[in-house]
Symmetry: C3
């Protein structure tokens, strides 16, 4: 990690600073740290007002703050539209993605019929099946298992131990964290009167461009048609996506969420951890679900919901507060 000049950082984030500062000479920034931990050559950021008081005591050389932030600080304040975004941009400068270099570990098992671009990396003990196609710049970690006929776009990163079952498709810049399972069988049985008859799950999973899938998250292949995760979706760890679900572009879900079969989630949704959505539902664009919500019916676009069964968040706030007053309510009841 090489130092980066303050001037370059200010330019990158489109920040404004007191002009007098740079006149006195540029300085080298050696890294990013929290307000509390930053040393004198490091950059910090204030993205959560909870940490505002740390601005006075931080030793950081400079701090990314929102426009309009006027706090006495020994550090140089760099005013930006969005300090968290600016932090992300600078951190990506300090830690650029590793590039694929065409390194194939000799212990990897790669089918002769697989077609990998020249620079694709394959880690130790990875397994790549028949007729797999992997485009340029992708990196496949150690112990990954890629089933037959899987296609993987360019610039993808599969961390150690990710698994993709046969025939699934990944777009470009798709990231899989360790232990993610893409394309397990959907949970489909018909009752014969004496046993559960397994229904062959013959659809695929399609992960569009810029999708990221968390550690040990599982995404089932479709029963007949495909399970589709649209571009830019980010799924945290230990999420379960059942067969034939579609998740709209740019939606984000925190860990341990579960989405039941054939439900369609809109674009730009945000789901809190441990939320669950029943099957065959339509969730509109931009819906926000609080953690632990349980959704049992269609939800209109743009709404904010909480509780199980899920209700509008405002109502939930009232109901939650009044639930605590049930003892009082009980005492005051008419008899």
């Amino acid at each position: 990690m090489n130092p980066i000049s303050l001037t370059r950082i200010v330019e990158l984030v489109g920040g404004t600073i007191e002009s007098a500062v740079l006149d006195s000479g540029d300085s080298e920034i050696t890294g990013i740290n929290t307000l509390a931990a930053a040393g004198g050559s490091e950059l910090a950021f204030l993205a959560n007002q909870k940490y505002l008081n740390e601005l006075e005591t931080t030793r950081a050389a400079a701090v990314l703050v929102a426009q309009g932030t006027e706090v006495k600080s020994a550090s140089l304040l760099i005013h930006v539209a969005d300090p968290y975004l600016a932090f992300a941009q600078v951190q990506r400068l300090f830690y650029p993605e590793s590039k694929a270099s065409g390194c194939r570990h000799q212990s990897a098992v790669i089918s002769e019929s697989a077609r990998l671009a020249d620079d694709v990396d394959v880690g130790a003990n990875a397994v790549i099946g028949d007729d797999v196609v992997v485009a340029a710049g992708s990196r496949i970690g150690p112990g990954c298992i890629i089933g037959d006929r899987v296609t993987i776009g360019s610039g993808c990163l599969l961390h150690a131990g990710a698994i993709i079952a046969h025939d699934c498709m990944l777009g470009n810049e798709v990231y899989l964290q360790s232990g993610a399972v893409i394309g397990s069988d959907g949970f489909g049985y018909a009752w014969s009167g004496s046993q559960h008859v397994k229904i062959p799950q013959v659809g695929r999973v399609i992960l569009e461009d810029d999708v990221e899938i968390g550690a040990n998250t599982t995404i089932d292949r479709g029963a007949i048609e495909d399970t589709v995760i649209e571009r830019g979706v980010k799924l945290d760890n230990q999420i379960q996506i059942a067969h034939n679900v579609r998740i709209g572009a740019m939606s984000v879900m925190a860990s341990q969420v579960g989405i039941s079969g054939s439900t369609e989630i809109g674009r730009g949704c945000q789901f809190g951890g441990q939320a669950g959505v029943a099957g065959h539902l339509q969730i509109g664009d931009g819906v926000r679900l609080a953690a632990k919500s349980g959704v049992m019916s269609d939800l209109e676009a743009g709404g904010v919901y909480a509780g199980a069964p899920a209700m509008p968040h405002r109502l939930w706030l009232k109901v939650s507060a009044l639930t605590l007053k049930l003892p009082e309510l009980w005492k005051s009841r008419s008899r």
Copy 2:
């Protein structure tokens, strides 16, 4: 996937159709699809009345429908007792299970003391421990790890990356999805006054015939006696089964359910997603739990429950509706 004649399909599912139809000559069905997506040579099915209106517009050659369904449709209607079961039966005809062929990938590590039937398949980089026994027709996927002294019956299918710890036993026709862990240590400690003393977990996990275990589901080995999953049980993805649990035959659980230690679940139970059951409980046969239920006491056979703590489903419906009226109730309280 070869085409199958309509006549054969009608016979297989025990369906009834207008007799005039077949007199005009048999037709070849090329596959199964949804009502909305089926092409003119495909079969569709109507198992969920939600999609009834699609019957009028489908282009399917024929549609599996429940007896008594009388809807105007350009498609041939095949009346059956259970369209979903019929769909399963036909789909299994189109997609018969692959057969084991005795293929052992050279990268697999198979202990010399393991005894595998001749036709058992072993995928790339799989590891099979000492004294493992695998019966005829079983297929072990790439990257699977089978601990010492595990026994696996006939016709089993272990998808890529499934793990079975030492001494566990699988019956016949057991399916493990990717990332399933069978036989991890149960969570058992005794507090010494200064630390948690780990209790050796020396029981096994026994999966009886026709059990299927979902992706990344974990089943802990018993502390002393065994954890037992009886025949025909189907567990979805990311379920947690603690040590010494017993799950009765034919029970079905949706994803992310958790069953705590030493609890016994009856036969033919159905649990919705994210439900949880506390330890040392007795759950009767045929109990149905709604998604997200939290069970803290024994439940009698045949009941339907919801909520946390779980209550009879009918009461839960009332309580859930009245919870939304808490603001009204609060306003109208006596003071």
Copy 3:
């Protein structure tokens, strides 16, 4: 498993028995079993009063019971301060941990720059990255993947298929169950106005001494600083620990718990299954959370909480009881 003399067992657990018993000659104990299943040469224990009635019918040679337990039993009663702890101690005598023997499977891929103590075991198809350090007595199971620059202390046990990402640190006597993922990327993005910009996650995960991590549990690396699991913490299966969380020493969590980013959990806490804690919170020492709790605010040390949103357990008991009376309350309301 060799037999152990009753005398040795009584000494080990600091138990008291009727003195007349040993005068009549020592006996050999062949193992531990439950009260119901124990044979005539086995030891049993009574740790849960639910099974008290089995004391009369057990065939066990001897039973570990709490001081003051006076029940008619054909078995010899060994009175101890804590029967469950005594059971753990004796079971560990019957099942001592296997010792590392320096066995490296030839299929394991071990970087030339890795430094492993002589007696470290490495299982089949395990992968050990560059500059990894593993101290004496540690055992690395088959299929484990250890990223570059990871350090592992002495006496650790990594079950099959555990994954540790680059730069993470394990103390001594750390146990990882199968499928555990240590050091996956934290879930951090900044919204650019058109896409989610991934924030490089450059912190580590640190597991201190005597930590045990359950099967398929995931622990994300810190965004900037580290995620820290302090000594003696025990995490069950399928738990999710987000980036920059700190869990205090000796805390214990049951399966499927989720802890959101930057939350700090105190020492000696106990969390029930499927509980969830929001981000950036402070949970005091010794806090106990009931299963399925949902915590949205800081919690003071020593409290017991339940419900979602979490409330004091006593209040939750009242509220839960009164919730069932909502129909009655509704009928009796003033109109």
